[in-house]
Amino acid sequence: MSHAIPLRISQLIKPRTRLEEIFLDILVRIFALIPIGALSFIMFKIIQKGAGVITWEFLTQPPLDGMTHGGIFPCIFGTFAITLLMILMALPLGVAAAIYLVEFAGPGLFFRITRAAVNNLAGVPSIVFGLFGVGFFILFVGRNLDKVLQTGLLFGQPCMLWAAATLAVLVLPVIIVSTEEALNAVPQSQRAASLALGATKWQTIWRVVLPQARGGILTGAILSISRGAGETAPILFTGCAYFLPRLPVTKLFGVIPMINPFDQFMELSYHIFIMATQSLDAVKTLPIQYGTTLVLIAMTFLLNLAAISFRVHFRKKMGTVSV
């Protein structure tokens, strides 16, 4: 009796369907292999060709002999500097926008427009951000600032400040969306507990909601850094340099060394781009290109790893929160 039912079911299944299913099963497996294969191929190629190039000199020296020798230190420095500036601008703005959307905005028209704008901003091609950076930040904001402040040509030219600002606009949606998720994940009962104890709305946000959303916000910030750090198009016209013999640093009050936001800078992804397309001898510089790519990918990879481990860590912590 017990085996009678399976028998009947197998009779019900048409052989063709089963073949179809096996075929589909194999097909989706193959499709699933494509990204794995592509990633493995890229990584293999880059590590194979790039690993040998990476030496202490390569990481710490500037390019030499018309960029056919030497290292990429200015590019690494520039990448760090610009992502730092970018996140300093994007994080407070993005978190503030998300706080507005989650904690304050009612479900009205303005809320829907803001939401739609954030979503569409995420879909804008990065080259458009580059052009926007030139048009808005350099020509509009920068030139007008120069006029108003009588600073000659300080703000109205491509520099790290505007490149970072352009990147900040690019990663803003990432930060807003991940912060929104993090804020929404904080149970309403936590807000209620705080308000019922006589906290104001801001005290509640500051002391209860944000600390619990910290993990998600940090994860979003790291993801946005890894997104922004690899972008070339937005900085193409807004401040990066083909070759810069000095680092973009200055001395605050003549003593404290700091990043000079008004200087141009070299950057890893842009360096790869120009080495591949405009260097005097693209074949000769091939090893440098691979080395640079490996450094850039390693940086992005490490950042993503950090984001994932943050997420796991905070999810574990949050798991004990919402009993």
Partner: protein, 272 residues
């Protein structure tokens, strides 16, 4: 007669000093409350006595929680919620435009159905309220935390783990921690919305004992679905039905000799 079968000897055991002499703490007059266009409370009028326990009973959805939240203006946080009528505490209309809602909520603490400690240490949970109001002095905070935990009968269980996460406490301990957190801001009134409904019988008994202790110093309004609990812990009982206050009076009277048939049906479980 009904109460004796319901609550056993509990009613008799309770050392009920005469709270009928106590002054009125909260006075509600012709209170209507709306969620958008839906009316959730219909012309509630009642006087709640100081240093007594008032229980709110009634079937699910009848407006007990809604009514409770009008007393500390937590309804303000619900979009579309609106009230008409007057609620006074110590004679002051808490819906007057110049009322400081944060200060009101400090005076009228609230314990929720589901224990909701912050994912912070036991100490930081209890110190949350005092810190909100600018207290940073460590010795003062330590004293206040200890005092509040003692009042909520939790001190002995947590005194050696004040700095571990509150999330590691049991459900019942967490609920008493939430009570301690309320006590730490020195309220005069404590609102409790089914504070024991998510707890096991032993933890429930502890909470009830605690309510009995707190009653000497605080005005307590408690929502409960448990008739025995209402009979055991409260001095006054209010029976709500579909947003209206059907009957309100001394618990003794409501449970032994209810005036309305609906009330009797409800408390004897013959409801619906």
């Amino acid at each position: 007669m009904i109460a004796r079968t319901l609550a056993g000897g509990a009613l008799a055991d309770l050392d009920r000093d005469d709270v009928a002499q106590n002054p009125v703490k909260i006075s509600v007059h012709d209170l209507n409350m709306y969620y958008g266009n839906v009316r959730a409370l219909h012309g509630i009028t009642m006087d709640i006595k100081e240093r007594a326990v008032t229980a709110l009973i009634g079937p699910s959805g009848c407006g007990k929680s809604t009514f409770l939240r009008t007393l500390n203006r937590m309804n303000d946080t619900i979009p579309g919620a609106r009230i008409e009528g007057i609620v006074t505490i110590d004679g002051v209309n808490i819906y007057a435009p110049d009322v400081n809602v944060a200060a009101l909520r400090r005076m009228v603490g609230m314990v929720f159905q589901k224990q909701n400690p912050f994912p912070k240490s036991v100490f930081d949970n209890v110190a949350y309220g005092p810190r909100l109001h600018g207290i940073t002095d460590r010795a003062f905070l330590e004293h206040r935390v200890e005092e509040s935990l003692k009042k909520s009968a939790l001190w002995d269980e947590v005194k050696d783990r004040l700095h571990t996460s509150a999330m590691q406490l049991s459900g019942g301990q967490q609920q008493r921690l939430c009570i301690a957190r309320v006590l730490a801001v020195n309220p005069e009134i404590i609102l409790m919305d089914e504070p024991a409904s998510a707890l096991d019988p032993l933890s429930t008994a502890k909470i009830e004992e605690l309510i009995h202790q707190l009653r000497k110093h605080y005005t307590i309004v408690i929502v409960t679905h448990n008739m025995q609990q209402a009979a055991r812990v409260s001095d006054y009982t209010a029976y709500f039905y579909m947003g209206s206050l059907v009957e309100f009076g001394e618990t003794k009277g409501i449970f032994t000799n209810p005036e309305k048939k609906e009330t009797e049906d409800y408390i004897t479980g013959r409801f619906g």
